[in-house]
Amino acid sequence: MNRKFTRLLTLLMVFAAHIVVAQQITITGRVTDDTGSALPGVSILIKGTNDGTHSDAEGRYVVSTRVGAELVFSFIGMKTVERVISANSNVLNISLETDATFLNEVLIVAYGDQEKKAIVGSVASLDSKTLEKQQITNVGQALQGTVPGVLVANSGGQPGSNPVIRIRGIASANASASPLIVVDGVPYNGSLNNISAEQIETMNVLKDASSTALYGSRGSNGVIIITTKRGKFNATPTITLSSTMGVSSPAVPLHKRVGTEDLFAYNWEALRNTDMYVNGNSAVNAGYNAANNIVSTFGYNPYNVPNPIFENGEMNPSRQLLWETDWEDLILRDQSVRQEHSLSVGGGSEKTKYFFSGNLLKQQGNVKTSELDRISTRLNVTSQITNWLELGMNNSLSLTESVAPNQDGSGYFGSTQNIYQMSPIYPVHRRDEQGNLILDSEGNPIYDFGIGSGLVNAVRPILAGDNIIGAFENYKSQTKTTNITTNAYLNVKFLKDFSFRTSFAYENFLTNGYNYASPEYGYAAANGGSIAQSRNIFTTVNFFNKLTYDKTFGSHSVTADAIFETYQGKNDTFSASANGFLPGVVVIGGRTNLTNIGGGIDEERLLSYLGRLSYNYGEKYFLEGSFRRDGSSRFAEDVRWGNFFSIGGSWIMSEEGFLNSIDQLSFLKLKTSYGELGNNRLGSYFPYLQLFETGWNEGGLSGVLVGATTDPKLLWEKTASFNVGAEFGLFNNRISGLIEYYNKESIDLIFSKPVSPSTGDRSVTTNIGALRNYGLEVTLNANVLKRDKFNWDAGVNLSFDRNEFTELSQKEIISGANKYTIGSSIYDFFIQEWAGVDPADGYGMWYMDVTDSNGNPTGERTTTKNYSDADRYYVGSALPKMIGGLNTNITYGNFDFNMLFSFSVGSKLYDWDYANLMSSVNVGENFHPDIAKRWQQPGDVTDVPILATQLPIPNANGTFTNRNVSFSSQSTRFLFDNNWLRLRAVTVGYTLPNTIAQKFYMKNLRVFLRGDNLLTFSSLKGGDPEQGIAGQSGLRSSILRTGSLGVNIQF
């Protein structure tokens, strides 16, 4: 803190020309705000020195100085006041005015803090008030729609899962493109999910080169600086209790599915058509075969008759349905519970301030068993031992326990996969050939794992060997983490203009994984059950020393920092798995056989020298330059050092005389910066070494295999970044805003260059290619209405981000549904283009290029019914053209109301989930009700092709080959416009009038109702529009819609 005072001091100082030798005087007084309430914790400094004090809880202070000295009273959010001490100034009461402009706000930036107006770079700030408006399980989500230039992509509904965060585009193709997280001045290497939003004072996002350059090698993707809450000097303890309780359900429903009868009808038709076209049978015979084969193809028969469907496709009228499993109902909770409780105590004496918080969170996900339990505590203490020495410590301990059933992607226990794939014809419990429940010796039903013996109701062709409902009961999978972070620092002031800070931070993340599968049921039953456990200890040590020189000469102010920093991260892993357990034995020690043991230690280090020089003239012109030199153990010795720098400047134009005449313009600042930063964050600790991996043992022999081919000269990825922007305030700052343009170019991309798989490698990680991101960000905030008891603020922010390759190792690189070429974006879809259904035969068609005699495309296109011949085209991007947020905040008397919307426009979503529901290849899987629009006879005009599993597909030379139908293969048939608007958060609160609160010995009491993700408007036909950054659905559960009631009490 003292550093800040020093800076304020130098910024506000008028040069003292002479030293007055005068009498000593003791001054007492009281500091109040403009309403007369006491202001505790106000800094009172004797100008030109580091001596001073703070006001106490009643706003009182005592200070001794000489007559003629000046006292400087400063407090965040208040206008600073200076008073010259005269001989009769024994009592000096001061009233500080609220600083209406936000300009004197102090923001935490790289390795320190700065006044907002002195910032030359691009820094967006999110304070605790914004955080309080949402119920945040993962603080990363708070950035969605609130900070321009930040893309937050949620995927799946597991509570606490980390969203993908991208600041100003995607700066890296294969190295990490995630921002660096810094908590209380120290790079944080844990999961964001361990940090309770309630303990955060501010979250600042550093976007451009000048603000992030000091993080050099790790700053190229932007930096998120989280500052936790602190106490105040001379403040009586404030005890805050808060509690919210709510219920959650999926924010968006899943795609619809058809029922049993429709499944029979459609599959009968698919089998009949296949038989007709592939085996050449007549429609009648094929219908007969299909009716005969359908039950054996399903493997199951949910009806009481052996032939539920006739050869003409009619259902057997004497059928009775024995079961129709609603997998969604069985897999998802009706509603899940969320509760969060916290207790915090903050305050301070004259020399020491403290903040303690304990937070308890319990949130269930919408899939059964899914849950996150978290306890997080934090203690921050700062002590001003003498006027030149400050020391402090920030500590946090958090414990999480999560059960995370698969909600994102495929797998036997993929919850969404089971809902979408397992049709209602498959029973939860075992049935005999007649369809009767098979009971165990105690008369209970037995879960059906689909690997029984028998003609029917025994062998399931879908997800055989498991049963997700049985898995909920018979398997257990949980992760426990213990997260400790601690940071001790010492701040020394000396020689008037110098200060020195040394800080030592240690993190320890212990992750325990535990997976149990029953010896009696399911996939591990054959081996007597299995347990797999893992224990990872990830520790980091960050040590930095900073020397600061801060001086003002007349209108010139200079601040210089020299920093030396080391970082060390160590990942110590251990895992073991075993099988052969007695029923009821759930610890690994009870094993019969050890099946695997693994483990190793990986370590990385970083050594850095940093310097920063800031200069301002008359608080109008600001210049700042920084330099960082980093050595990283991830690169070979001769290429491991990288130099990074930035330079930036700003000009507060509104301070100039020629603008004074414009009354409406209260503030105008222009700023620009340029810099070059680096990225060394790859998946591998030693990406430059060609090594032999151990662990490929054969019998009793140790075995090794040579690892992937590497580039021994692999080096830093570099990002050059340019920023220009204007901040303005109009009508006495009732309207304020910010417009910024950026252009970032990442060169020497750490890139997985594809190589031919026949070489034995599939890619080589090397420095090749360049990627450009550029965009525009606009923020506008307004105080719409201000009346006596009524206040209405509203804000909007918009980001327009573009991404393109500017250099590549080869002409084009195909990566899944994307293709990289110069000028294309990393998430541009490059897929087959659907040309509809041929009304003559019901075949789906795609476009292909017409080629000339040399095989070159002529530019014309034609259609093909052979998917292998279809050409691929650029058909849109998964990245939105515009993202943004809207927020509005209304207070009326003791009531407050706010809403936060986030939205995304102009992206495309590839819906694999829907594609699978529209596929007729796999008999027994679910269908979407849209399948009703299928082609059935010549002349049908529809977009849904003929139902079949296989068809004769024409080759270019006129022959036919039987192939699985490809109608649901990747094509624009399943690519949809994805525009959405989400009511991210809405809160209504009521604060008890002070007079009443005080009767109950409370300082403050507020009750509120809060809803998250209550409304989603989307251009999709179903499913959650938020499907990760690549814009492809992947069997994910929806994010949660939560409604809750909360109370916040301060004592």
Binding site: Q690, N697, T759
Partner: protein, 476 residues
Amino acid sequence: MAMKKNIFKIAMTWFALVIMTGCADYLNEPKPTTSVDEGLIYSSREAAEAHLAGITRLSRAVYNSVSSANLSTIYCARSLKGNDFISIPGNAWYRSDYDYTDLFENGIRSWFTWVFMYDVIQQINVFINGVTNSETISSLDKTQLLGQARTWRAYCYFELSLEFNLTYQKDPEALAPPIYLEVTAEGKPMSTLNQIYNEVIIPDLQFAVDNLDETRLVKSFINVHVAEGLLARVYQVTGNWPLAEEMAHRAYGGFVNNALAASSYIDGFDDFTNTEWIWGMQNTTDQTASWYISPSTISDHVNGYYKSLFVNANFVNQFSATDVRNTFFEVNNVTDYRQYATTKFTFDFESDMVLMRTAEMILIEAEAMFRNNKAADAHNLLFALQYNRDPSAVKSSNTGDALMEEILLERRKELYLEFGVEWYDAKRLQRGITRDAKHSIIVNLVPNDPRFVVYVPLEELNSNPNIDESVNQRWQ
């Protein structure tokens, strides 16, 4: 102020100190712990054998899915392409191999077989380079190590040629998968079958046969008999019958009754110590391919898992009741494809995987004798095997083509579900495959049908400038 000056001094000293101490070796200290460098691996024969052990383990690794995991899955897919075995409908594992819909450039069969085999080839080439250039391994040890490695390499190219081409004798000049004899990052153009067989497979195996002996560390490793057996298979494909006869004879030792142990046939084909096994992969509790052991994971209806494979009743009918190889039982009381299953392969996480057996070598020798105009010897040898398998066997009166057909039927009866014998023979002899009415999808292949061939995968076409889609358009 004196005190503050002292603080200044202390602070500056501290600052200087930490900067100094930081520099020296701070960044050099982290070292990999779970991997070792090349210098160590090729410093001694024992260390180099660790790489061979790794390659052996890789061959039974879990690559992708139940039907695309390791060597056993390539063989199982072939086993389902004939008339003798039937897959259940729906999306059962291997169903798309059974109905010939997973042949194409975007399919998993194409991708897996290609990527897997070339991964092993890369390991071998690194090994060969490392051993050849080692200054500390003796030249005797080098030839033995290189013999094993070159056998592996020949094996991979042989399997590639079987999968991605019609048979050698159809057109030796046909384009074949690219040849890599050393490590490179550059994708190479297609070779020809002639080059693959006569410049790689045969010289590699000949080197091994000339330099290896019977010793080996474990049975999953390669010794001279494995090399001989592979060379016998290769000559069986190229039609060099004198050498096929010689190599097969050497591979099983030449004494039928020593080479066979009929009683072991019913032990579940899950133990590589079986004396009839020349080469096999072992699975142990702590090193298991788990569910990814084919065919037992789909064929074993008693202990098995997916139970998706049935035996064609018409194939069952070829066996006498006293034949030890009659492992079939009526699993369902119906007469359609769901009637019979086999107990030949027992499923377990510790089930070993068979790669080569003496009985196959005896039958190659018998076939070669027949082709070498030694029909009587061939018939005697065939009957020796038949009698070993079935004490009530009676020697047939077949001669000429009928005897040849008898040998081929005996191959199916002896080797079923091991490496796709029915498909392998139909392909190399340029015959078709005809499915009978027991099948739900009737796919009949004519001789040299393009459906005998798997396409070069899309990933290779996309990333190799020297191979384009015309290599696959040959098959349309």
